[in-house]
């Protein structure tokens, strides 16, 4: 037969349980914050300077190299990408230089007026549309912004 708990014992049990709850809750918040914290990080919008507007020729892709600094955890790496800037009127389009077939780097052929892939004969027009060969889709475009004389690409 168990005796009914007296008020003092009930108070002590409640106090101990409360302390356990506070400690457990605090540790839970700390652990949960560390585990799911990265999910709430906002990606910063990064604009990279790609070149001068004056250096671009109308409707002719101009290759430029951009350096993208990436932070992954504690490691920081700088990657270089070649993109083609195409000026048409007031607009500037940035095309990826990576062929959509198997990832080779395309280059501009000024005589044929095409972006050609050296690997499997893929060819694109200055807007990035496929005009020959096996590429399944147009060249990827990147978001650009013109500020004064400078062209910026969103990383």
């Amino acid at each position: 037969m168990t005796r009914p708990p007296n008020p003092r014992r009930r108070f002590l049990a409640a106090a101990v349980n409360s302390i356990h709850g506070v400690i457990g809750g605090t540790i839970g918040v700390l652990l949960g914050g560390a585990v799911i914290g990265p999910s709430f990080l906002r990606r910063r919008e990064t604009w990279l300077k790609a070149g001068s507007l004056d250096a671009l020729t109308e409707n002719e892709p101009t290759p430029v190299t951009v350096r993208v600094s990436r932070q992954d955890g504690f490691t920081q790496s700088v990657e270089r990408y070649v993109v083609f800037l195409v000026k048409s009127g007031d607009n500037v389009t940035a095309l990826s230089s990576t062929c959509t077939h198997l990832g080779c780097r395309v280059s501009w052929d000024p005589e044929a007026k095409q972006l050609k892939c050296p690997c499997h004969g893929g060819a694109y027009d200055p807007t990035g549309a496929v005009i020959a060969g096996p590429p399944p889709s147009p060249l990827a475009t990147l978001t650009t912004r013109v500020d004064g004389d400078q062209v910026f690409i969103q990383a």
Binding site: L30, G33, G37
Partner: protein, 141 residues
């Protein structure tokens, strides 16, 4: 609220399990010296939980260990507090285990029928000391 716990107890019998796990009849005269084992268990739990989360960000290589610890301290949410808990918990657990062993020796709790428990405790103390030493080296600083 009480009716909910009654409903839960009818289906899981959790109150009996809690009684079995937590409610230990103690002899008269039992004082605060007998909480050293519970303190050790609590510290062990903290070390395990904080260690698991820290291991998500820590890189165990001589090239990256220090950088990953610095990342934990500066970039991870609550990382500085978690590492602090783990760091100081490691020291406390060594102190608490020594205090617990002394308590067992002074109160004669190693005698029959607790010899196996005593030997297990000594082995656990050695393991704790090993973890403390290896953990101390992990930042590679």
């Amino acid at each position: 609220m009480e009716s909910f716990f009654d409903w839960l107890d009818d289906r899981t019998n959790y109150r009996a399990a809690r009684r079995h796990l937590l409610e230990e009849p103690l002899p008269p005269g039992t004082g605060w010296w007998f909480v050293t084992g519970s303190i050790l268990l609590f510290l062990l739990g903290v070390q395990l939980l904080t260690g698991v989360v820290l291991s998500m960000y820590y890189v165990p290589s001589s090239e990256s260990a220090y950088d990953s610890v610095r990342f934990i301290m500066t970039q991870v949410t609550f990382g500085r507090i978690l590492r602090g808990l783990h760091f100081f918990g490691a020291s406390f657990i060594v102190v608490a285990s020594v205090v617990h062993m002394l308590r067992v020796v002074i109160f004669g709790s190693y005698k029959k029928p607790r010899e196996v428990t005593w030997v297990t405790g000594v082995l656990l103390l050695l393991i704790i000391l090993g973890f403390a030493l290896s953990g101390y080296l992990l930042p590679w600083d």
